[in-house]
Amino acid sequence: MRANTTEGPVIEFRGVTKAFDQPVLTGVDLTVNSGEMLALFGPSGTGKSVLLKTTLALIMPDSGDVIVDGESVFYDGAMALERIRCKVGYVFQYAALFDSLTVLENIEMGIPEVELKGLSHREVYDRAWESLEHVNLDPEVVLTKMPDELSGGMKKRVGIARAIVGGPEILLWDEPTTGLDPVNTATIERLITKLSDELQVTSLLVTHDIEGGLEMCDRVAMLEGGSLRFVGTPDEFRASDDAVVRAFSDRSAAFAALDTIDVR
């Protein structure tokens, strides 16, 4: 677990409510403090990714607001949203690399446009190179490749490189280890901890990997049935006598154990 560095809220979800065909989020209030890493757990379909996406207005809530670094994502106008997006790096579940662009061009897209205008080609290249080194990829090998020439684990790491190249203050991770084998999962988890420490960023991590989340994060929250069921430290989560929390964590532990054995 990382050192807890709470210095006030950086992300505040205030009464976030969203329904598609049926309610997904019902009045979620959650705060992520400066410098901390918060893991968001919950069964599939409980709105974890939806909540994460409201942080950058990728999904509009039906009601409620999200405050990032003191500015409202939805009510402070386009310029505020642009400023927020410059501060946040978003790692997508399946990397979401742009198919038609090379790895270099993909990472270049992660540099805020205002900053990009003042950079030479050489400087952009160097920034991309550096961010690939951060995620333990050999820039010489991957920079000129197209996304479909990369393995799943490499794509995720390029997605992380794109998220960090702009020097974000906040990192949002949407199930970064989904679909990876145990070795790649461990690699990505180590990377998440390393980057959060090295870059001194605030992180919000949506994950199904309970053990990994408890190991890496300062606090954890659990969504269930569209609302928060639990918020606290990893130790409090482990010791929780809430039946739903226990059932969820035990079942996940069981599935996590299944991942480590050959079931063929």
Binding site: A57, Y94, L97, P112
Partner: protein
Amino acid sequence: MNQPSNSALSRLLAGIVRGVGRRTDLIAEHAGQLGLLVWSVVVAIVRLRVSRRDVLRQIYVVGVQSIPIVLVTAGLAGIVTSQQGGYQFTGSIPLYVMGSVVTESVVLEMGPVLTAIILVGRVGARITAELGTMKVSEQIDALYSVGRDPIEVLAAPRIIALFISMPILVALANLFAILMGMVSAQYTMGLGMETFRYGAQLFWHSWDMFYSLLKATVFGLTIPVIAVHMGLRTGGGAAGVGKQTTQAVMFMTLTILILDALFPPLFLQ
């Protein structure tokens, strides 16, 4: 006896009204979103937010790469018109009229419409499928997350490219179709090129070429706007992309044909 049949009738009527209401609502939603899309593209152009490099790349993809199929289609249309006209005219109408029939039907109708239909399949379907795949694989979200507007980065270059390319493609299609029609008339009916040209010039109005290019410009805007709109509305994974692309092709084709039917009463009176 009357009561059940009355209630069945009212249920049927209610169903029809509901159906019409839903359709109207959907059409209004599409129309509103299409209008907003066009407005956003205009704003992006005015604010110089569209990359010239992206527009040129798209002109190459949607314009230059479409030239072979457009010319083949136009050439065949010219040949067929010439041959069928010759078959009908033999012995009854002077053959030089063939020059006018081929030229006018190509310039007023077949050049723009056939080129548009070809581009619906080649370019429109491609744009919808491409943007649809980007939508379902979160690439559109990724663009927003890095502070880029998909309208500026993806939609505007494609719309501008086809808007510019379409009149040029139609002009090329018209010229090639007339040329092939002329060659075909010479080989199948022995109609000399001079005679063909005489016939073509006899009924020619300079407005006709403007009319043809106006149609091309309108179609050149219609196809990419619908394709982009449908692509950005895609949901539901790979199956959703397939379904949306099919619907987009249907909407584009239908819209082209409806607009084509509106042109004569508006511009040829």
